[in-house]
Symmetry: C2
Subunit: 248 residues, 2 copies
DNA sequence: CGAATAGTGTCTGTGAGACAATATATG
DNA sequence: CATATATTGTCTCACAGACACTATTCG
């Protein structure tokens, strides 16, 4: 029955060849109300001239998540100890034909970077031509050819994020540690690709999970906005069911 | 840098050794109001005498999901063309130390089998001693040692299912195509490990997604229950946000 | 002052949960 | 009839969305 029982005994490399293991990264950050991700324009076969997600091999002494963090650091050149980031596993893509050159199985990861909403983190400072560049995600999906199964990975990442911010505060991972509500609102608008969320209702809905710092920040026009922090109970793997009555 | 760009050029098997790829299966079915899953008692090192999830290698010409279906069929001996089943990917476990014998990366899958709530599908009819046996999942978690990282896989599977049935009709995958509401209610009670859900409220909440067949089925005591089918819009990857106004 | 924006107040509709009431079966 | 269960009815509460209103800033 080929259970794990038979590892050493029956393992036949001809029948069960090993595979190369990689990670692919969907790194997201928001400017204005638009989602951006780094892409690499491929310079050679296969999928020459198409866009690809950054990624790389999983080393012999690390797991996939570690490889994702490492690639993220290499790609962005960010000091991730300082710059807040969120990495989570998305799904694993293992079709035998996904890379025509060899059998490559990839564990796709979603990474979220905090921005102030006005600029994107600089990518791989001082690297060569094949480095990654930030591109608006929807435009890429609409107008660009994507290499391998990266279109599927990308759309899965967007759907996952769109769903997750409905019932968690994951959106706060895309915003500085201290932020005004309009910044968080712009994140929701970017992820949901929607026009305008009602600012009043948004404020009310979020306020329960936030702590005011007492400070305010001025904008170019209008009243200054209060600065908040996420209440610690709502951070990290934020409780999936906050106000649930625990039964039903 | 290490992008996929450098595959053929820089690929150094010493630096990036390949890995064995397997699937591990959490197969769930309900009897009464209790969740059960098949486990295999290990007969040899490592984790001798501990319980393990069924699983097996991913073949050279199949992807992980195909391997999961294949292992499910081999393990249960079920004709999956007939017997309804649901398989979805859970997560990938890739710690270098997860199997002390060699580097094994496993794509964990969740499989749901339909039952009438009174009996479990027979497992691997006519196989040897190391075959899998149905065991109540909570008791296993409370009282048994689990091999490898299978405890983590199992708890992840339960949490995922518990969350998913909140906003989808995935629970219907654990019940026959035509079913009475008490059967579906028992599934919720099993997955949420809860005493009793209010039958009246449960009926109301579900009825919108169901179609009555017009038939009724008698129970040992009490009024007969109406037989339903899941409305097709609510099946498969059931709509994640049914009554959502699409713009928050 | 006029425009833009933050944050609050109000109203309404929906849906969940507690619980009662009614209907229908078994023994 | 006593008991168990299904299904419907009611009431209440919480929350989301629409929208008006006030307050605060810039130019």
């Amino acid at each position: 029955m080929s259970t794990q029982e038979r590892f050493l005994e029956d393992y036949d490399p001809a029948e069960y060849p090993s595979v190369a293991l990689t990670v692919d990264l969907v790194v997201l950050a928001v400017t204005g109300s638009t989602l951006h991700a780094p892409f690499i324009r491929r310079g050679m076969h296969p999928f020459k001239d198409a866009l690809a997600l950054p990624g790389g091999f999983v080393g012999p002494d690390e797991d996939a998540e570690h490889a994702a963090w490492r690639e993220l650091a290499e790609e962005t050149g960010l000091d991730l100890a300082t710059h807040r980031a969120h990495v989570e596993q998305l799904a694993t893509y293992s079709s035998p034909e996904r890379d025509p050159r060899m059998r490559v199985v990839s564990v796709a990861h979603l990474a979220l970077l905090a921005t102030d909403g006005r600029s994107l983190p600089e990518l791989a400072p001082g690297s060569d031509a094949s480095a990654a560049h930030w591109k608006p995600v929807r435009e890429v999906l609409d107008h660009e050819e994507l290499a391998f199964d990266h279109r599927e990975i990308l759309t899965t990442a967007l759907e996952r994020l769109a769903g997750k911010i409905e019932y968690t505060l994951t959106a706060a991972k895309l915003v500085p540690e201290e932020f005004a509500l309009y910044q968080l609102r712009h994140v929701y608008e970017a992820v949901w690709n929607t026009e305008k969320l009602d600012a009043g209702n948004f404020t009310r809905k979020m306020s329960g999970a936030l702590i005011g710092t007492g400070r305010k920040v001025a904008r170019s026009k209008g009243a200054p906005a209060a600065v908040f922090t996420v209440r610690s109970e709502y951070l990290s793997p934020p409780m999936a069911r906050p106000a649930a009555t625990s039964d039903h």
